[in-house]
Symmetry: C2
Subunit: 126 residues, 2 copies
């Protein structure tokens, strides 16, 4: 062999912090222990992409924190401070990524957060 192998754990105290995790499972572990294949990575990245915009996060927050857990789209444009088409665009992305549900009632469209889906995504980080 011509190339030398890098050695783990030299004279470093910093490295030991790496093994200190909140969940101390070893086998059959959390999502952190399972290497991601390309397909799953693509899917998960799409979910995070839906969350990677401040307007969408504020929309999601407004929806989640609304009394009754649901809001009319007509009450979202003003607090967000963007144009109606822009808000509509972001709501569409939130809906298509499964983060929120929606229902048309007469002229208005109501949105609510899909908490199960949010839990699901949060679990992928643990």
């Amino acid at each position: 062999m011509t190339t030398k192998q890098p050695k783990r754990r030299t004279t470093s105290g910093r490295a030991s912090q790496a093994t200190a995790r909140s969940t101390t499972k070893v086998c059959c572990g959390t999502a952190r222990d399972i290497p991601l294949n390309e397909r799953d990575a693509d899917e998960l990245a799409t979910a995070f992409a839906a969350l990677a915009d401040p307007v969408r996060l504020r929309l999601l927050s407004l929806i989640s924190s609304a009394p009754g857990g649901e809001v009319c789209a007509c009450d979202l444009v003003t607090p967000i401070g963007k144009s109606q088409p822009t808000v509509s665009h972001h709501l569409r992305i939130l809906f298509e990524s499964g983060l929120v549900g929606r229902e048309k009632r007469g002229v208005w469209v109501w949105y609510w957060a899909d908490n199960d889906r949010l839990d699901e995504i949060a679990d992928r980080l643990r």
Copy 2:
């Protein structure tokens, strides 16, 4: 008043699902109950943006699932299947967003996941 107000909860069975949440807190609740201001939304969006790329998710996964919880960068290029500058670019973003720590040991650079930070981000979805 000239415009009519939208009414909540008409003859819909779908809407009731909105209130069904896993955490049943009412007061002093989780992140879902607190409306996000613009500054926090920007910061959180940046964190999610770091996670919104399949290559970075696979890198993070490879790092997390490595024995000892840390990996040499030299062992990441081949399994990812991208060029060395591209992998370096993604590792930089993971590091600068605080998702991973790193340490140079001789010629090599070792990476580990910051599980506390990951927990922190996951909590923002609950």
